[in-house]
């Protein structure tokens, strides 16, 4: 489905990613973990075509889309849904407007959008919030509204950047339940960035560990705690002593 070949990203004189090679097959659920500022969000933004690789190639369904213009990327992006770390809910629209926005931009009639918005809002537990402004929502509600918007157009690939950051444990569990149910039903490919390893491994099947802009480890989520790399073991266990620099 999506492949990064020896990708490097430099922005403002800083190297954010280097030599990243990664393949995510269709239907896979990949988790991306790592310390803060390791390059996790940059990695998913490269996958979404939002940050162009400085070096290397981005391949989607066998087509090399590296260096494509925004116009040329548009049909590719139409197949991708994304939840942003900072929610990215549009201030100028209410919740229903935000969730229905991807459909409205595809030219669907308002009477066709309304029922789908209500169905998605019910699915994420936000029924009754359709006329609220984003500023009236709590952090958890914003995340769920973001998930509803990212998935309403039934994308083939959904990228989740920190879907549970700042949420309490119960809401975190609800969000991962929702993601599991969604992807079980749709079969869509998922890439989720999260610092909440315990929650993330209940959703994904494979995990990559990003450290200083490189993929330091890649393996199954089920055996993450027993990973051979001491960096990963320390990160997962939260131990203070180890090779991981604070």
């Amino acid at each position: 489905m999506i492949e990064l070949v020896d990708v490097g990203v430099e922005l403002g004189g800083a190297t954010l990613l280097r030599g990243v090679s990664l393949a995510v097959p269709a239907g896979a659920r990949l988790g991306v973990i790592g310390p803060a500022a390791a390059g996790k969000s940059v990695l998913v933004k490269v996958m979404a075509g939002l940050i162009p690789p400085t070096t290397g190639r981005l391949i989607i369904d066998g087509t090399d889309v590296t260096g494509w213009s925004e116009e040329k990327l548009a049909p590719v992006r139409a197949r991708i849904g994304m939840l942003f770390q900072n929610y990215a809910l549009y201030d100028f629209l209410d919740v229903a407007g935000n969730v229905g926005f991807p459909l409205a931009q595809r030219g669907l009639a308002a009477d066709a959008i309304g029922p789908r918005v209500l169905e998605r809002l019910r699915a994420v537990g936000l029924a009754g919030s359709e006329f609220k402004q984003p500023s009236q929502l709590s952090g958890g509600m914003k995340k769920r509204a973001g998930i509803a918007r990212a998935t309403i157009a039934a994308p083939e690939l959904v990228l989740y950047d920190e879907p549970t950051a700042g949420l309490d444990p119960v809401t975190t569990s609800k969000v991962y339940d929702l993601l599991r149910a969604d992807h079980d039903a749709s079969g869509a490919t998922a890439v989720a960035v999260s610092s909440d390893v315990a929650g993330l491994v209940t959703f994904v099947t494979d995990v990559v560990f990003v450290y200083r802009g490189q993929i330091a480890y890649q393996g199954p989520a089920a055996t993450l705690a027993d990973a051979p790399d001491p960096l990963v073991r320390q990160f997962v266990s939260g131990a203070l002593d180890g090779p991981l620099e604070a």
């Binding site: 979404a48 939002l50 925004e70 992006r77 770390q85 931009q105």
Partner: protein
């Protein structure tokens, strides 16, 4: 050593200004390209016209009224001394239509609308809303920037025309109250001495000022870095850049058409 350091700082500052001017020029090109063919979000344009224009009208009218009056107050001693009441309207009108009106309203518009626009776009940038649009294959320039630029151009021009008229009324009211010049004298002073050229000279200036305010406020908004502090810095930079642009454009337009 001090000289070298000063030169380094000057060079760095010059590079930064060049980068910003280049960025604004690129954005201008992107906006023009997005207008060919003009595919606009009509609702976004109307929303911006309303909030940028309608809501600015009371403050612009108030400022213009007193600016027109001030021109008369300033010229009052000379008018009284020389008995040149028939020229009081011309003096106030000439200054208001060609200079004071466009500049004052442009600066007010920059402070109210331009600063607000930068803050709004800056907040949208740091909260990833622009990336959110791009992720949905929506061009932020076409969807967000073009309607704002058009709304600012249209509304600053309209506000300047309205402000000019209000300023002339203000001049007539103050002339009547302070100098005891009757309405008809002021009217004929305006009508006999002011030309359409004086009016359009100010209107063209307002178009240029509107473009400068729109492009600088949008540019600094979408290039924000560093969260809330960055938004504050961007608003400051946008207001300064707009004020400098207004004064430079005013000088060059006046010089070129003198």
């Amino acid at each position: 050593m001090i000289g070298e350091r000063t030169l380094t700082l000057l060079g760095a500052r010059a590079m930064a200004v060049t980068r910003e001017v280049g960025g604004i020029a690129i954005m201008t090109g992107q906006v023009l390209r997005a207008l060919l063919p003009p595919r606009l979000d009509g609702r976004e344009l109307v929303r911006n016209l309303h909030r940028m224009g309608n809501r600015s009208l009371p403050i612009v009218a108030l400022t213009a009224f007193f600016a027109g009056g001030l021109m008369v107050v300033q010229s009052a001693p000379f008018v009284k001394r020389l008995g040149a009441t028939s020229l009081a309207g011309w003096a106030a009108g000439y200054a208001v239509l060609r200079e004071i009106g466009p500049i004052l309203i442009g600066l007010m518009f920059s402070g109210r609308v331009g600063a607000n626009n930068t803050a709004e776009l800056g907040t949208m940038t740091v909260t990833e809303q622009l990336d959110g649009l791009r992720a949905l294959a929506i061009d932020p320039i076409r969807y967000l920037i073009v309607p704002r630029v058009l709304a600012m151009l249209i509304m600053l021009t309209a506000l300047t025309i309205i402000g000019d008229l209000v300023a002339l009324v203000g001049a007539a009211v103050v002339a009547f109250l302070v100098l005891d010049i009757d309405w008809r004298t002021m009217y004929f002073s305006f009508a006999d001495n002011l030309t359409p050229h004086d009016f359009f000279h100010g209107v063209w200036k307002s178009v240029a000022f509107g473009a400068a305010i729109a492009l600088t406020s949008c540019y600094f908004g979408v290039t924000v870095k560093g969260g809330a502090v960055g938004v504050g810095r961007a608003v400051n930079a946008a207001v300064v850049a707009a004020a400098v642009s207004i004064m430079l454009l005013d000088f060059f337009i006046t010089y070129a058409t003198a």
